[in-house]
Subunit: 322 residues, 2 copies
Amino acid sequence: MSKFKSEIIKCLYKNDEYISGQYIAEKLNCSRVTIKKVIDQLKHEGFNIESQTNKGYKITQLPPLWQQEIVNIELSKQKILNKAYVQPQVDSTQLLARSIINEEHDDFVVLSDEQTKGRGRFNREWSSIKGKGLWMSIVLKPHIPIHKMSTFNLFISLAIQEVVEKHYQINSKIKWPNDIYVGEQKLCGFLTEMIADTDGVNAIICGIGFNLNQTREEFDKVGQHRATSLLIEHGSTIDPYQFLKYLIEAIEKRYNQFLVSPFSEIKDTYKSKSMIWNRTLNYTEGNKKVKGRAIDIQDNGFLTVISEDGEIYQFMSADIDI
Amino acid sequence: MSKFKSEIIKCLYKNDEYISGQYIAEKLNCSRVTIKKVIDQLKHEGFNIESQTNKGYKITQLPPLWQQEIVNIELSKQKILNKAYVQPQVDSTQLLARSIINEEHDDFVVLSDEQTKGRGRFNREWSSIKGKGLWMSIVLKPHIPIHKMSTFNLFISLAIQEVVEKHYQINSKIKWPNDIYVGEQKLCGFLTEMIADTDGVNAIICGIGFNLNQTREEFDKVGQHRATSLLIEHGSTIDPYQFLKYLIEAIEKRYNQFLVSPFSEIKDTYKSKSMIWNRTLNYTEGNKKVKGRAIDIQDNGFLTVISEDGEIYQFMSADIDI
């Protein structure tokens, strides 16, 4: 049954027009009754599938929760991140990704509808409402020395910002080092871990929490008054599969650039997409607390801040109050 | 039954003299028949336990394979690394340690009698004959910035070298960056990985392979002609529990020093225990290949090498042919 399910999803998903039960049955060498059964099952799982006499079936809306088969189809078009582990619920995609690394030699993606223990930087709670956002971790295994990692987040944040701007026409900005904002509200946060030894980086694990389809009421209910979603900004429901495809494409492009190019090549673009210039803000990194203005980003990814009393500070990864 | 087993091992292990079955039975509030049964089970598991009429029981030799209960007793005396995960067989202690990190908040030790996929640097095979060596990974969770990690291996290698010298009176040397040798033969290799993000190190996973009780014949059989063991050098069988205790004590001491002190404080000691001076050797790090002589170690742990044609090179973690 499950093999047919996967094949039937493929048949339907790859066709924009109605496709007849007879045609699918012949193609898969099974009965039309089997086709009908599987389609009923798919409807039960949240697919909207219209059926018309003499024309057949057509998917009119994808389910709001991740379906491994469709994720597979979308990612099969990617070059690096073309393997996915999809779970309805996890403690966090980052922890699941970490545990899969031991067994999985390729690069891969972990996706979940829901996280029960989603976490941001400094172990802060990250709300991951079921089926409302992209809760994802990507795992990459480059051969690079550790010091090169200091600019990874800069390339990735540009990839995420570009998707929002290019495909959804929303004026979003990067909050260094790893958030994406629309105005003063957070749309996306991400967090990059690495497993490394002195010979280099063995794995990069980048967790991305992107707010897709939450409403203002849903944010208010969980006390996230400083958050926004692509739905709120764009005005209509976001297709998560479409978004996933755009995002992975953009990440692959910027990741390949990260591997071969210095940050200086994208520095001007990055700076133009950054939201922290010309503002006096509070910067905290460990015990270092500075009130000041960001004036530049170094080629190694460090942020240069001039304090109110004129001192110059370099931050590797500060927490910034806005 | 298992609770009695653990308690009976404790009773016997903590007493150097004979201890009566009656005494143990009263202490544990169980029958002498139960005591007898558990002791038979322990004998079956490799304990040598002598019994004498009117005197009782006494452990005369510990089993060659790790027993969780005795490891617990030994580690309970330690300050940081006082929790152990003991397995008869693993793919590698390093991989098991990585997967436990997600669930375990404390620092801990992973021990196994045997590794089926033990690995050294550059993914080289590491032979881990059953019950013959210390196949261990330690996991530490300090709050330190990533750059501080560059000297971690220097502190740890000194800890390992000291145990061999102090407790077994063997003249061993450190081969920078992470091996311990006796003469031209390897006694121990270790490998440090970290899980880190830009805010700092989340976990250190240090895998240590230490040859304890292999014979020359056993090494020859697996083609390890350049390896030696503590048994070969010391001349008599090594008690693995005793060795474990010495090693963890030494590592805890040097780790605490690593957290608060710069490498410069131990640099002279380290250099005096290092075997690479006054020799022309081949150094390889990535694409960089240099034939030359090591002349110094920097405060950041880097090795300074002068090539045959007088050029100066800095290595972070070279592979050295000896």
